[in-house]
Subunit: 300 residues, 6 copies
């Protein structure tokens, strides 16, 4: 047997086995006219929205020459068209919907509802930027924060994804927040509810679960988990409130863990770093861990 | 002295010093016919494999029109050729090998051995996806998991890299897993051994060391370290088992730390979050930290 | 009203509101001749410098054919020109400077001062690579470290950004280190001072604050925070030393937290994992946490 | 008035005038759900088809490893999907069609009819390659012809475009042939009818009009025009046969001009270079110009 | 001598000789702060202008959603900024100008003068499109002409370049028209003067010289040369009118040659194909060649 | 039968027929380890050489900062490596050669021989630029010529390809010159021999055949053909001198045709436009056509 044939045969044998795996799953078959959503196209929409929210920072436009209202109009129209295509794709794929004029209108209404929310999303993020500047002594200006703070990027993506989540768009919100998670190490589920002036510093390792509720003016540092109390129940818990509620003006320092759907951190409370909290904390209290004593000895 | 000359002179002075640094290292000289591997090309191979494992999700192919067995055959043949080139490059560079027909055959055998494993790798990952769906109440479908879960991406890359690691391919496995580490914050050494139905949630900050052994149906959350007990011995420990063994059905919650090559977490055990474990844990036990008491006072 | 008009109207209404948001902020207006810096161009400079520091590893050049001193000269000249453009842009934007021959000369001097430092930066990083090889039993060679260790990437970027920080270049240093933060999960503020032979393992979640001082031969693992003691004072603290000092040969294991501007970890000290330290530690001591007792019970 | 405002005002004035021009044309308005075709996407389809016709020559596939039948299957399926999208776009735009299931089916039938023709198109082009090799003493092999002969590229594009033209697809055929015209200087209207074993040498300046009919084994050199007899009637002639008929085995040398819908160049005729022909030529004749006498004098 | 050294030595010897060539030319040295223009950036400006002139045809914008006046405003502002940079570059380079506020203002005035002309340029091209539709029986619609007719592309580029030529911008106009020449085979010098409703069919091989003057409603086919009478005087003729004048409503058929600065083709004249004209032609005349008799014999 | 199946079936039927076509040709099968050359990679080499020949014009390098000798050294080393790979590929493919150390050395010698010629190639082209400037009254400077004259591009590519042709490298020379043909409409066979100070104006439609010999200081305008006398012998003529010889200082005006391997245009001769020449022309003569009389009548 020639070398060519030997290699080809081994490749085809592998292909046949891989193909058996395909058939043993319902995952890999779609119908004529459908396709799966594409992450790159969804991230593209996200980047377009970022340019609208922060004109001049991430695109080619320069407000010295460009009329920014016109710029926004154009850019939103572009977002409209791209988002329309993405949402149509995921609804067709998820819902096994018929292609029809009615369905097209339904998609249009979802996209328009999102577009309506854009100015509000932007206001929220600009307040988050203010909170960042006020809270971080290392920040030299709002521009620096917009350009480089991972916390602001993660919150921006969350705020966009959350509106799509509320409009019951499948796949897209989570693809967006996991993209931000990959770039920042900050994992905010699009289902969470987060108020104004949210401040994140450093941020790597932050986890904010799907049913979390966070008030206004909350500050949070790296490694904070707002999670579910451990259980083995998995899918049975889908939809149940299993993550905590954080009220206005709460501060949670680095690596604190707050768990449980009934856990409420009351207004104005301060949670010190490295604490582990599974019960509610009253308003205006400061909770710190009695850190374990240190064992100090001369190094040999 | 003209401005041109002044700038050029300063640049050339810097270049001369940089060049001295080159010469003081053996690192930067290669022989005719050799080259260093390129990260971009290796990641390209990884992306191609991902398309084979999850057809329709990350490529242009659409199973409504494409015969998936043919698709897999083509795609594996492409992977064959690209991987052949990469492995040839690293073996030439690492081993200072002669270019010869024998050497070419050796490379071919390594690549074919990897190709043979592809269906098995895929089966494993599809089981990991199942574990993810079952274990995470926020997951709405397998598709969402494949598209967006960083845990699945990190495990996929590990499973590919691990097979290359077992075939003693240098550089490439680590370049692959560190790429996944960069994208997900999950650091799995390609030398680790990990069983079926592995579940990772959130994932940022997970570290799984080179000599770790993990059984089937294990669940692990963000910030978990499976590490070595701290020592100052560095390279002397190369090859020694210095990371723990985790048996089937173990669950390790967020930010737990399990250290040591002799530490065995027995079948079915549950390790709570924020624990620090340096000794073995028996089967069917639940280990939690007596968390340090909290110091709660009114905030002033 | 036609469908076209309805959609356009909703889009323009959103644009008008977005534009109101622009006007309520001083952020989005620049003058003729100015522009905001662009992240992509800054990262491009960083990548060029990386090729100079590690020739053959990340570019197309191959030392089998290329004279490396010539290579360095060319590449530095390219960096000169690109960096000149970026620094000019940020100084114009930040400082509302006049475009003049004097200003051009000022920019030139900053860039030349940076170029002068390049060989020193490179020497430092090559020492960091040595430290990495010596300290990590899983590392098989310096090449593997250069290719794939996130710690080396983060330190490299820090060392470049730190020189620009010392030259009082705005925006660019932070954009650089946050880029590295995004890729590695390692957050080193460009203002920190870090000595030779710095070793980082795994690295995800490391935070090193702006006024931190680190000596030579220091080793640090994932999740270590060198931070400020929590306060609510925000911008009032700008410029104050609020992060710790780490002396030569100190080792800090995973997830340790060291806080406070007056906290000094003395020469040769070892800080164990999961410790929480807010006071100085004497030279040659080993500090470990008396870990909270574990609560072990049979799992039901 | 500030410099900013002056510039913006001039820009907006220009925009208003440009916009008036838009409104004075029906050209620039489309309805919701429609879009104009995009040249880049159409050329992309053309490139995909070229890979199918000449496997290994223009794509990444390598027949040493790839099963070419599988390759063709995959690639045709990709072409199917992309062409479907393009044809749907142009039909919607041109015909102001309703989006409906019936319309989708109509598009599908057109695309399938084209797919059915692909093997025939390929056979034809492979014969054209043979003709090229036989006819050109400078050609060293079929491979060289496929890689580099502009004549083959132009004929290939024509053969693809002609099938779409016959299926009454608007816009796309002409965009394809004008793309080839731009790359080769050979302008073949997609409506022309061209037989087997068509040979073009050099080719720049060749023009073959819409209603031309060309038999088998015809050879043609640079600068040949097969055109209409000059008239001023423009659009009134749309659809009328106004270009010549060229029968089997005819050879037409460089810069010959053959005009008129009733002009027939009979089987086996040879038309010499620089001739100007507006009447039919009998079979088996050789037509040359009595070239004007040359005026030769000593150069002063 | 090792293989490495032998290769490097040969390369460096070639580099030294190449460098000698550099030094023997004044061409390759620029001063600090200068750079040569870049073709890619100039073509980029051209493409942006094309999107403004034909909205929806070549960009992403879709008039179903986008307000086209806003679109134009944005796009012109982008063109302003890019063109400013290019013109500043060429003037600095060509004129060895000082960088100063005065110079910046001079550039601004040139760019604004061009922007003022944009609506007029567009009107002219839309008339050219009309002429194309009316004159070509193979044209099915204005859209097809805009998408695919090389004549329209060449005229568009000429009309843009001509305005810059009139503003005495160096390099850029010719780089633009030669780009069009490369894509279409139509070579129109930016210095030529061309009236309204200009019609070009097929076009390959058309040459229109620098001092040509063309009136309104002129039609021209492939291979037409409007050139200078042959002389050996080269640069001595720079600036002299040496190309013909073509008055309104003239038609010039394929491959006609019209030469000489004093040659005037009078209003309404028709010049047949393959004619060679070096003297003026009166209004309302039709000039055809008495084509050389054909020599027809039976082919042996 | 479902819609999915119907479409897939038609696609697979087409694939089977296409695959039959593959098998009926020897063209599409290569052996393990071989691949076909890739046009894009060959053009890439050409572009790199262009940057060496004209530093600053087409690359990023700027001689204000870069030492041009170093630049050339680096760039030539890059060309060495890339060209090595391409030549190795074509020789393996064409010659069915064994991979061996001897073969590698043979490739190396070819590439080095080409590198040796680079300075000479550059000198030649710089002389061609001088000829262009001197001969064209519309040319404003050498820079404009280098940037935008298609004649210079075509000659540059020819000069590179001709050296490779002389080294008997298959495929690559023709791929290069046909690339230039596509961009400029100027078709120079790499086998032609062309002396110094070659001048081409406009250029579209020029054809220079494989066995043409051209002396120094020759000038040539658009549409000139230096061709073979028409024959039907095709491949039988391979290698025979069948194109003319043009001696020093000859000028050939637009659309002249010179044919035949024995035709010699003597030193200093001038060939007027639109002439058709198949016999030798003596030195110092001027040959013009007695143009056919014009038929001038009033247009009706």
């Amino acid at each position: 047997m020639s070398e060519n044939n030997r290699v080809k045969e081994r490749i085809e044998k592998a292909a046949a086995s891989v193909s058996d795996n395909y058939n043993n799953q319902g995952l890999f078959s779609v119908s004529i006219g459908e396709r799966l959503p594409k992450e790159t196209e969804i991230i593209d929409v996200l980047n377009e929205i970022r340019k609208i929210v922060f004109p001049g920072f991430f695109g080619e436009e320069n407000s010295a020459y460009v009329n920014l209202e016109n710029f926004a109009g154009n850019a939103i129209a572009m977002v409209y068209e791209k988002l329309y295509r993405q949402i149509r794709t995921v609804l067709l794929f998820r819902g096994k919907r018929n292609r029809s004029e009615d369905f097209d209108l339904e998609v249009e209404n979802i996209v328009l509802a999102f577009i309506d929310k854009l100015p509000k999303i932007q206001e929220m993020i600009l307040k988050d930027v203010e909170a960042e500047l006020e809270g971080d002594p290392a920040a030299s200006s709002k521009e620096e924060i917009i350009f480089s703070y991972p916390g602001i990027y993660a919150i921006f993506v969350y705020r966009v994804a959350h509106e799509l989540y509320k409009l019951k768009v499948p796949y897209i919100p989570r693809i967006m927040t996991e993209h931000a998670h990959g770039k920042t190490g900050i994992d905010i589920n699009p289902g969470a509810t987060i108020g104004e002036y949210f401040f994140i510093d450093h941020g790597t390792g932050i986890v904010i679960g799907e049913t979390t509720i966070i008030g206004n003016h909350v500050k949070m540092y790296q490694g904070v988990t707002l999670g579910a109390i451990s259980t083995m129940k998995g899918q049975q818990l889908s939809g149940v409130k299993r993550h905590p509620t954080i009220e206005d003006y709460v501060v949670i320092y680095a690596n604190a863990t707050v768990l449980g759907g009934d856990t409420v951190i009351g207004k104005n409370a301060v949670i010190a770093g490295n604490t582990f909290i599974t019960e509610s904390v009253a308003e205006n209290t400061r909770v710190s861990a009695l850190m374990p004593e240190l064992n100090i000895k001369t190094r040999n």
